[in-house]
Symmetry: C2
Subunit: 330 residues, 2 copies
């Protein structure tokens, strides 16, 4: 399985348009030892030809252009839909799996609208939020073959596959203790099931070769999660905030990391401590907020993360997962 990190930042990206914090100022002025990052976006492939996105970031247009494997013409038509034959338009992107409904997880769907077939895997709750409460999404269903939505159920594995290939990726959605996005308010959404709000994903390539855990939004790590992570070769984990009150230092009236559904990295209940005993996976922080000191490679926090065996993802990184237990960063 190939795993490409198209974007590694939290919502807003790094730098963030309205932010003049030390990190954002430093990267604009080139005084910080750090890389700019677009909003979190992963792409996976089990056969080098068909690619599946994990979520759909608002930066997807430039992320696709920065990734030759995803260029139109690079892989030819991959969808098994009944779309009429296109003359010069097609994409190696066969589909996307949504882990939640936050704008930085879903806005990119609306960038994939140019009458191109796309297969979208989401819980019924997330699908309902998007398609029944936003008429923008009609742009993905102007033709019956354009977007295909498949409901997914936490705990039930499903295959990510295309009609033209016998290979597939097996995907298991894992329900997390998250909440629906902040735009869900008032009436009309009481029927939504909380267990459909926020997912982690386990992906396995078949036949043979590698197991990935993608968990970009984690409020707490229960024992069952530790066991799941230790069954994987590669863990892409929530690296949003270093500390719980980080955002309040740059903007008043904001919530803590935990209130926003992200466990901080530091502290006794932070991810460095809670995940210290993992043995198997290659551990990578993704979804890194612009305020997080670990983006600065010269910071004490960056060194602390590295000393604990973690890496801090950057845009463009790629991993090739192979059995036996190996994750290789190119």
């Amino acid at each position: 399985m190939r795993v490409k990190v198209l974007g590694s930042a939290a919502g807003g990206g790094f730098p963030q348009w309205n932010c003049a914090c030390r990190n954002c100022k430093g990267i604009r002025e080139r005084t910080l030892n750090a890389s700019a990052r677009s909003q979190c976006q992963i792409a996976v492939s089990g056969n080098d030809a068909d690619w599946f996105l994990l979520n759909a970031s608002p930066d997807l247009r430039s992320q696709i252009e920065n990734t030759p494997e995803l260029h139109a013409g690079a892989g030819g038509r991959t969808s098994g839909t009944t779309a009429p034959p296109s003359i010069l338009r097609h994409s190696p992107i066969a589909g996307t799996v949504l882990t939640g409904g936050d704008l930085d997880q879903v806005l990119g769907l609306l960038l994939l609208r140019e009458l191109e077939p796309i297969h979208i895997y989401a819980t019924p709750g997330i699908r309902c939020l998007l398609t029944e409460h936003n008429i923008f999404f009609y742009m993905l269903s102007r033709e019956p073959w354009q977007s295909v939505w498949t409901d997914i159920v936490p705990g039930q594995s499903f295959r990510l596959a295309t009609a033209r290939s016998s290979s597939y990726l097996l995907c298991e959605p894992v329900s997390l203790s998250g909440s629906f996005p902040a735009y869900v308010h008032g009436n009309g959404t009481a029927h939504l099931s909380a267990k459909e709000a926020s997912l982690g994903l386990l992906l396995e390539s078949s036949p043979g070769g590698g197991r990935l855990a993608y968990f970009p939004t984690v409020r707490e790590v229960e024992v069952r999660l530790l066991e799941l992570f230790d069954s994987c070769d590669l863990l892409l984990f929530d690296g949003t905030f270093w500390s719980d009150n980080e955002l309040a230092r740059v903007q008043r009236g904001v919530r803590t990391a935990t209130e926003m559904g992200h466990m901080p990295i530091s502290g006794p209940d932070g991810s460095l401590n809670r995940l210290a005993k993992l043995r198997r996976p290659h551990k990578i922080f993704v979804h890194i907020n612009n305020t997080n000191p670990i983006v600065d490679k010269d910071s004490l926090e960056h060194r602390q993360v590295a000393d604990a065996g973690w890496e801090v993802a950057e845009d463009g990184w790629e991993f090739r997962l192979q059995r036996p237990n190996q994750a290789r960063c190119c």
Copy 2:
């Protein structure tokens, strides 16, 4: 008045994610004498400090980062709202004026959501489409001071200004014979007034100095428009398509340029011919589709446009409008 072209392409940008036409293939392979373009986005300022956007493109995040004048900290807080004082977050972007509701004109609004005040000027019809039919927009109204919507009326000029400056830009919305976006379908939108669907904008800086016509979506040019354009120093005009059936050559089942609300550049009813007698304005094509042959600087079509006194906008261009009649490209 300063006029910055942050993006010059039509919806989808250039190259477009799912397109392998001659232009898109050529620019990816660096065999075409052309510049990549992000989706159409203009920013204007009358005082070098407060900036107003014309529409809000899906590429706005990278467009802001590519434009130092729009960086957080470059101009300080510009809004006259009652927002609580921010510590390290603010933006020189004071507001945006919408000319329509197409996704490539409005999606960028949702990128301006990080609890930052923003003033949005739109017709009631467009405002209703966005805010009452897409719960995503709740992200712009989580706090009472966050987004301020001002209804605008075709033919009635209004001031683009901020509380901290005495200078302003005068903006006159001009109703065009366009239609509401393709996502407007079915019931519930019959009350929308067609004259609110698509606008051109006339902007004038005061005191003194320059008049801009921004018309990125024009189906037909009536005599009244010719007169308006000839009252301006700079005309940014719909350069979407070269010919009426251009898109059908790369994708089946699509509409003609005219059906999509864009007059082509070529032909007896095209813009080159219809606007040939303009005397005053500096004439620039914007909103250029990835399929348009004028993006290729070596093409006959590009030469034909240049011979007719037009220029083809590229991302990053800037104009400074001054009286007497001068538009200077930096």
